[in-house]
């Protein structure tokens, strides 16, 4: 399983995510987003009670991650849920199909306005892992 850690950003919030493969990078990023929405629930994926299948298309793999998280954030607001986990069914450089698992909540820790493209750039690091930064507008 990949890892994410919160980063310092003057006005906004974000995390750096790292994983062995793209599949893992995308799934771990969903956990990072859950952490930003509700820190107290992020580690409790088993408490998810509803799931949705989402399909996202984008221009390239970095855009795909931003757009995928953006779609989950939109679903979070519409359904008032925190999505704690994703199972990816299909993933290539421009498309993703995933089942996302969420839990109803009565509030979010942060009023996240958007997932931005700022500093997002999926690359392989010196250890051969994939990594990127994801910044949220709050």
């Amino acid at each position: 399983m990949g890892t994410y850690r919160e980063i310092d950003h003057t006005a906004d919030k974000g995390f750096k995510v790292e994983a062995e493969d793209l599949h893992d990078l995308f799934e771990t990023s969903v956990q990072g987003l859950a952490y930003m929405c509700r820190e107290d629930l992020a580690e409790n994926a088993e408490t998810a009670s509803e799931s949705y299948i989402i399909d996202v298309e984008s221009e390239d793999v970095t855009g795909l991650l931003v757009d995928f998280l953006s779609e989950i954030l939109t679903m979070s607001h519409i359904h008032r849920m925190v999505f704690l986990k994703a199972d990816i069914n299909e993933l290539n450089e421009k498309n993703i199909r995933a089942e996302i698992y969420g839990k109803k909540v009565d509030h979010f820790d942060e009023d996240i306005k958007a997932v931005t493209y700022h500093q997002a750039d999926i690359r392989k690091n010196d250890q051969g892992n994939y990594e990127t930064t994801v910044v949220f507008d709050v």
């Binding site: 919160e6 980063i7 310092d8 950003h9 003057t10 006005a11 906004d12 919030k13 984008s58 221009e59 855009g63 757009d67 953006s70 939109t74 607001h77 519409i78 008032r80 909540v105 009565d106 509030h107 979010f108 820790d109 942060e110 009023d111 996240i112 306005k113 958007a114 997932v115 931005t116 493209y117 700022h118 500093q119 750039d121 910044v135 507008d137 709050v138």
Partner: protein, 490 residues
């Protein structure tokens, strides 16, 4: 084609030319793709703070936008954003220049409204804690909260077309409020047909809500008057109780922006636009995509004006509940956006030109005699509101003729952060901070304690320094200072 952002090329102080003590320029020769110079309005100390993040690299990127006129401009409170810096202004030629959602921000028409009351601070000082509580219960704060308005699909479309006027028609305030709102609270171009169903879903129950982050609802007292004539024109005097509302278009605007930022990512090649940062994705204003976005943004702006109008009505109720007739009349002093693009006429190279002025974290600040100002403010200039943080002063200023020439009639929008939210959370104990503020007669009601820590005064630049730079650069003139007494935070 969109390149990956060049974040590692942080601009150095020696690359800037000092034009005056409060104006610095990055010449076009700095980077081959700049179409105009980049200008920063700041004191030397302020500039050094701005140089600590990527703001000026982002400003150089803004200077590459097709159709940009005169200069890419950063305000004294500038800090790093996404695509554009926060505190950035860019005017592009109409109609062939581009419009960029990144130059407006995700919170379309985030802005500030100031209300005046008849109450004197010394007389109602003892009620401030009750007022904070009553305001908190009338105006939902924090993420994911519903407001007092919940509309059918058709009625929501009417709200998007009519903005603050819709709210007045629905009983939230009176028609006299509308005169004192930028654009009278309605952009005619708003078109619900170019907006996604999900954006409407997110907005349908959110009018009348504050949201989180740096949004607030604050009761202030006027503490110092610097320009009595201007203060008189705005109906403001020392020790008067005033109310400050800072919020935007909520989930509706966030979704409109998200939808169009994504849509524009794939359009850059079609328009032959080559940009250094995908956060700047844009479309020519005279293209179908450009027009669609402008109409969608206009609907976002209308939603925000409606939101602040509904909140105004809730504030009036809360004041009446606590103070009865002592609350007196509560009037709108002005309502101004700091995240928007507007079609305006400005003098460029000696002639009047129509431009699309992007203001992202920057406030419109029209000088005296501008035709868009209310009659009673024409001689004075447009009121500008610069909030500090919840423990510090805020300012009312006026726009100037000089600012019309130098910054397309724009000025800064706040103190600007100088510490990350994560760092502030680590350094600040919210309970201690709330106690300390209470000792200073500042009563805070907040939806979340972590939000209080993130918005602590120490996380912000010194508002006095920012306002001083704005005034000395000639962008706006100080009218008065206010101090917080009751604060509602998301």
């Amino acid at each position: 084609m969109i390149l990956e952002p060049k974040y590692m090329n942080m601009v150095k102080k020696e690359q800037l030319e000092k034009i005056t003590d409060f104006l610095w320029e990055i010449p076009m020769s700095t980077r081959g793709d700049m179409r105009v110079p980049a200008r920063v309005y700041a004191s030397e100390e302020g500039l050094e703070a701005i140089l600590e993040d990527d703001s000026l690299d982002q400003l150089i990127n803004v200077s590459t936008l097709p159709g940009i006129q005169k200069a890419a401009i950063a305000m004294p409170d500038a800090h790093q954003g996404y695509g554009f810096p926060i505190g950035g202004v860019a005017a592009t030629k109409f109609p062939e220049g581009v419009i960029s959602p990144g130059g407006i921000g995700y919170d379309i028409n985030c802005g500030v409204r100031l209300l005046s009351t008849d109450a004197d601070y010394q007389e109602i000082k003892g009620e401030m804690e009750n007022l904070a509580q009553e305001l908190y219960s009338h105006v939902p704060a924090g993420a994911g909260k519903s407001g007092p308005v919940n509309l059918s699909h058709n009625e929501f479309n009417r709200l998007l077309q009519r903005g603050a006027e819709w709210a007045v028609g629905a009983g939230y305030g009176g028609s006299e409020d509308l005169e004192y709102i930028e654009a009278n609270g309605k952009l005619e171009q708003a078109n619900p047909a170019v907006i996604s169903k999900r954006a409407k879903q997110r907005g349908q129950d959110q009018a009348g809500t504050l949201g989180g982050g740096n949004h607030f609802l604050e009761v202030d007292r006027v503490s110092d008057i610097f320009d009595k004539d201007a203060a008189d024109a705005f109906g403001l005097h020392e020790n008067q109780v005033v109310v400050f509302i800072h919020t935007g278009s909520r989930g509706f605007g966030h979704q409109v922006a998200t939808d169009y930022v994504k849509k524009f990512q794939s359009k850059m090649t079609d328009y032959g636009i080559d940009l250094p940062d995908r956060g700047l994705a844009c479309a020519p204003m005279d293209s179908g995509d450009g027009k669609d976005y402008y109409q969608a943004m206009a609907a976002g702006a209308n939603f925000a004006w409606c939101n602040r109008q509904v909140i105004t009505s809730q504030v009036r109720k809360a004041f009446r509940n606590v103070l009865g007739s002592q609350a007196g009349k509560i009037d709108v002093v002005y309502d101004i956006s700091h995240n928007i693009a507007k079609l305006e006429e400005h003098r460029i190279n000696g002639s009047s030109q129509k431009v699309i002025v992007h203001r992202k974290g920057a406030t419109r600040a029209f000088g005296p005699d501008h035709p868009e100002l209310p009659e009673s403010y024409k001689k004075i200039g447009q009121p500008v509101f610069i909030p500090g943080s919840m423990g510090t002063s805020s300012y009312v200023l006026t726009g100037t003729s000089e600012g019309m020439e130098s910054t397309f009639g724009s000025t800064c929008h706040g103190a600007g952060r100088n510490m990350s939210r994560t760092a502030a959370k680590k350094q600040v104990d919210p309970n201690k901070l709330l106690r300390r503020l209470k000792e200073q007669d500042i009563h805070v009601r907040a939806a979340s304690h972590s939000g209080v820590a993130e918005e602590a005064p120490l996380a912000y630049k010194e508002v006095d320094m920012v306002v001083d730079a704005v005034e000395k650069a000639g962008l706006a003139k100080r009218v008065l200072r206010m101090r917080p007494t009751a604060v509602v935070k998301g």
